[in-house]
Symmetry: C2
Subunit: 504 residues, 2 copies
């Protein structure tokens, strides 16, 4: 393997194997790694660390770390470390089945926070010191500055704060990604903060590389491995209908003069439904769209390629294998239209509010009054985490939540009397869309919201049950502002636990 991606001679001397690099990490350390939704995470050191920890455990010794990242990673990182019980504490987001299992068994402590809060809370000292940073980059320049790879996440913060740094240089990443990033070094701690000078989603306000004190770099590891590259499912009928209702609504808002003809910068969560929305936008007749979001997935590349989307700002990618090939093949095209930022910028409340983003996120369930549960199955089991959905929901122009009206073959209703966990409050949620229709909750008092949600979004199989609850609540509730029957409010969830269905 060539070392042409490592141009700083000081750092060429520190190239070691993944195993040698992993040996720098000690039990009990707080380790901060790169990675955001399966892009730009270290490919080799976490696997080597997992092997080392497994060996130590086999010898009867304890070895766990506290693990921070940008967001979710991949089986080679979260999965490998979770499987060997290497993680004592995980922050701020994950989607790994092995980690999830341990979290829900009470064996792995998980702290699920807004992605815009991560960097600042670590800077504030709320999470103690960072011992080691493990960061994937695409190259090291002559002066020791780092060319990021396919995610930025919290890498700037990890590199600034970590006592020692391990760099992975991944030659699988396209060399021409250089120049795509915009790393803003103008953040500070209060009382020294200044306005962030970003006015359009494609403004460049920073530099293309990450700074790091070379004296802190204890190891450089060369890798050549792909990002996670999960395929998306083909767009199903439910997703197509949800996308249709949402796009019809957005066009209606344009017609009413409440949105510009090219909308406002779009934020899109990751998954099959958001991907269907992006596909729907391609055929919508809308033009000149922009995006200020966390993650670019397949549909966003298509919109850029077809010219429907002018540009996009993000902090990471979630691409299928095919889309990844397309991205790498036409990197020079995409480099002109995509700007990658730190997640403190991509999700910053100041910027989301200024730009007036349109948030589009999935959900687990919503209740009659518009409270949304994004994180907990039946109130106690974590699914993934809140991620950046709260940053966009609270601060954007519009917050929309998209979900099929039922799950698990109809045994779970996504519309419930009371959500079993609240991630987005009634004060924050504007629009709910299911394959049944769209509920516009803007400017409505609680009982009028309930009518919208039941009539427009609930599955017919659950509509009578919801009406029955709501009617009796309106009659018998302690207060009639937000009517509830407390002994029944969470009974649908308990019924599912007990019987396998929410149906009465």
């Amino acid at each position: 393997m060539s070392v042409e991606r490592i141009l700083d001679p000081r750092l060429r001397d520190r190239v070691v194997s993944a195993e040698q690099a992993a040996a720098f990490i000690q039990p009990g350390e707080t380790v901060a790694m790169s990675g955001f939704t399966g892009s730009g995470y270290p490919k080799a050191v976490p696997l080597a660390l997992a092997q080392r920890i497994e060996d130590v455990h086999a010898a009867g010794q304890p070895f766990q770390i506290k693990l921070m990242t940008g967001a979710s990673t991949a089986p080679e990182l979260d999965g490998a470390l979770a499987k060997v019980d290497a993680i004592a504490m995980r922050m701020p987001f994950q989607t790994d089945p092995d980690a999830r299992k341990r979290i829900n068994e009470g064996k792995l402590d998980y702290i699920d926070i807004h992605l815009s809060h991560v960097a600042q809370h670590v800077w504030f000292g709320f999470y103690g010191d960072i011992d080691t940073a493990v960061i994937e980059v695409s190259a090291i320049r002559e002066d020791g500055s780092l060319v990021p790879s396919t995610s930025v996440g919290n890498n700037k913060t990890w590199l600034d704060l970590a006592k020692k740094v391990i760099i992975e240089v991944n030659e699988w990443q396209p060399a021409d990604i250089e120049g795509m990033h915009d790393i803003y070094y103008g953040t500070a701690l209060p009382p020294h903060r200044k306005p962030i000078p970003l006015i359009h989603a494609n403004d460049r306000i920073g530099q293309t590389t990450l700074n790091v004190d070379p004296d802190k770099i204890v190891a450089v590891v060369r890798t050549n491995g792909p990002d996670r590259n999960s395929p998306f499912k083909p767009i199903d009928e439910d997703s197509r209908q949800i996308a249709g209702y949402l796009i019809e609504f957005l066009k209606h808002e344009v017609a009413k003069g409440r949105l510009p003809a090219n909308l406002l910068p779009l934020q899109s969560g990751v998954g099959n439904i958001p991907n269907a929305v992006l596909a729907g936008l391609a055929e919508s007749g809308l033009r000149g769209l922009t995006s200020f979001t966390e993650v670019i997935q397949d549909g966003m590349l298509d919109l850029l390629k077809s010219g429907v989307l002018d540009y996009a700002s993000c902090t990471g990618f979630a691409l299928s294998p095919e889309a990844n090939e397309e991205f790498k093949r036409n990197i020079k095209f995409y480099r002109e239209r995509i700007i990658m930022r730190t997640q403190e910028i991509s999700n910053h409340p100041e910027l989301v509010r200024r730009l007036g983003c349109i948030g589009m996120n999935g959900m687990i369930e919503v209740d009659l009054y518009g409270n949304v549960n994004s994180t907990h199955v039946m109130g106690s089991r974590i699914m993934n985490g809140i991620g950046g959905s709260g940053d966009f929901t609270r601060n954007g122009f519009l917050s929309t939540f998209l979900s099929p009206s039922t799950a698990k073959g109809g045994s779970i209703s996504a519309i419930v009397p009371m959500v079993s966990h609240v991630d987005h409050t009634e004060h924050d949620v504007s629009i709910i869309v299911t394959e049944q229709g769209l509920a516009d909750l803007r400017g409505l008092p609680p009982r009028a919201r309930a009518r919208q949600v039941i009539d427009n979004c609930a599955h017919p199989d659950y509509r009578d049950q919801l009406n029955d609850y709501f009617d009796r609540a309106c009659r018998d509730s302690y207060g009639k502002h937000t009517p509830h029957l407390l002994p029944e409010a969470l009974s649908w969830h308990q019924r599912y636990i007990d019987t396998g269905t929410m149906k009465a």
Copy 2:
């Protein structure tokens, strides 16, 4: 009564009685009035309107309006109109007993939203047109510009958007209040928004008066009446202890280097406990404090007078009669140290995050995992509303919630297994303080938060009951990430409804 406060000759000609002014308001109108926490609300027209509506109702005719303000007002506005069933919809905040009663009977629709969202959501068109604005000012200048009185709230937005405007000129307000206000006209709708150029809580970024198109002014009414001026209760032992724990914590954070020696700009909710905290700060030894808050109450004036607080930014006042006399007597002193802003600025997420405010707000209840209910008694009855607490909780440096550990003589625990309504999620709440102690939830996973809240904050009468629930939930919950027993999670609230106490 002299007209020396009305210097624009065009508007002197429009001086009419309150009854004549109220006659401009038609049934079904959306009426936007001034007023924020009992300061700066119109004193005469709402009373005249209430009388007119009562007469119309007595004649068997319908007459209701939709009513928007800055925040809560006073008996002469919310109370008078609620009593005669004049309000069909109320937004965004109220604290009036007559309005509350009707809301909880299901007779008055109330929309309870973040105070930072109000102006922009009306600008976005989410609430339709504003027919009439009724705004109290302290004077009208020669050029027709308006000198605000003791609150600014949403007055700029109401004056800009209303089709017709009624001005009340209140000579009870000190003439020397002129110059205290800072009205920022730089806001815009996306995609035209720019950074707000405020870096310190005492920066001036606007003008001292409100603009209005004089052609829209249909009536000017002269008044001479006091703001609400509710007295505060003497500081009780619980409040003193809560204040003590919070201040001890803040000094600890200074000692640890996580806060500057003069802290960061303080936001303080309204009430007896926040007032006790302010009194505690006076004796804390801390100096050079600053405030970026919604409301200035008695304790804040004391801190300014004693020099502990350098300056304060607000959008309204909540003063006792004595404090109001002090304020009027020494208006020239306070005018140099207090800046009054529109509530879109006082509560703006961009600014709250940039300044790193320390939020201090009351609550109704908190649960084991740090979810806070600020609005609903037993899940369905509105108390007041979320007000600006969410703006500061989500975006500030620290969010603290303060409450006695019990209410109603011990029959209600403020620490419950699951809150009956969520206004501030587990992702947003940092610090809980009761007279029992302080729970620091920063950087903790859910079960560790539960231990902190039970051990440090719960009343001893409820601690065993909470431990029993938590222990069984940790054993039997469907998931162990956020353990809950759904059939019991809200049983404390139902027990209170059924038996008058949460005690088992």
